[in-house]
């Protein structure tokens, strides 16, 4: 499903200058964990479709939106590994043979976050994560057609403006 923006978001996106903040919010879904972790790359909590995304020290280091068939890779640095993150690592990453962590990511306008539909997430899977117990680096790869999966689990790709022309 191509990413569809509402009229209000398109107007806001096309403004050269604006006082609206645009930021990324993440939902980390971990197989077996009691509930998703909702994080916002912002200085205030963001209520997005009724769920509160809490401010978190995150930094996106590398965004590779390849033009060929390669999948998008994203490297997110978690600047503080707190007890919540540590517990998740201990219980659902290092002690699990094949951990299944999925990350949903949206770009929202903080003045009107619900203009971004919940179903328009970019869906990533966590490929690798390393931590020195102070900070952590998470390598994400966009879900899609891979060698082990023929049918896309969820579509995620931003539109190129031509709805019937597949991008990848």
């Amino acid at each position: 499903m191509p990413l569809s923006l509402s009229t209000a978001m398109i107007v806001e996106k096309n403004r050269l200058t604006s006082d609206h903040n645009w930021c990324w919010v993440f939902e980390v879904q971990i197989a077996g964990a009691p509930g998703p972790l909702r994080l916002a790359m912002f200085d205030q909590p963001i209520v997005f479709h009724g769920q509160t995304f809490v401010p978190a020290g995150l930094q996106v280091d590398s965004l590779e939106d390849a033009t060929h068939a390669a999948l998008v890779n994203l490297r997110v640095t978690i600047q503080t590994v707190d007890q919540v993150m540590m517990a998740l690592y201990e219980n659902y990453w290092v002690t699990t043979q094949s951990p299944d962590w999925r990350v949903l990511q949206w770009q929202v306008d903080t003045a009107m976050p619900n203009e971004m539909p919940y179903g328009n997430a970019n869906v990533y899977s966590v490929q690798q994560t390393v931590t020195d117990l102070m900070s952590a680096v998470v390598e994400l790869v966009l879900e899609g057609i891979t060698l082990t999966s023929i049918i896309p689990k969820q579509r995620y790709v931003a539109t190129n403006g031509f709805a019937n022309l597949p991008r990848r």
Binding site: L16, T17, D19, D43
Partner: protein
Amino acid sequence: MALYPASPVPSEVHPPEIIDPMIEFQSDYGYSIRRPRTSRPRRRWTLDYLGVNTANMRVVRDFLQEVRLGAVDFQWFHPTAIELALFQPSTPVNVLLLHGMTTGMWVGVSNTPNPNINGGVFQITRTTNASFTLNGTTGVGSEGNGNVIIYLPHATAITQEGTLSAPSTLIGPERIPIAPDIYRGIYNFQVTIEEQF
């Protein structure tokens, strides 16, 4: 959370510097696309302490050591700028003051006709440059004057590379004065305080 010492009162609190970083993309064709990076601006105050005796200098220094020169945040009330504003009994309470603040900043309120808000601290919503409302308040009583002071629920001390520079010594040595030498130990120093989200 620790509260910045109300005494000694600084000799001068300079108007704040405003910190508001933005995301900017400069195009090759001469225009730029700009967005703010944070939800609102933050402020940074410089407090001048002039001619402070050893005891008072130690009060401030002790506090800054307790908050580990900026690692730990603290609460701060503006120590000198006590504003007189008109409070209107609307819900939420409307305050008429040429305030220079933005939505999300905090104020302390006292001596108003509304007993429910006196002594409280409130996050504000800016309505115009000369008025704001106090979030979560209910209008009671009549319109009347009251005091407003700037309040920071989260502030940190700013030092250069984690070093608190030594106060300028006007008169030494650094000890609590012993009579009849009551003028021993007089210092000038500055403290920089930065608002945090």
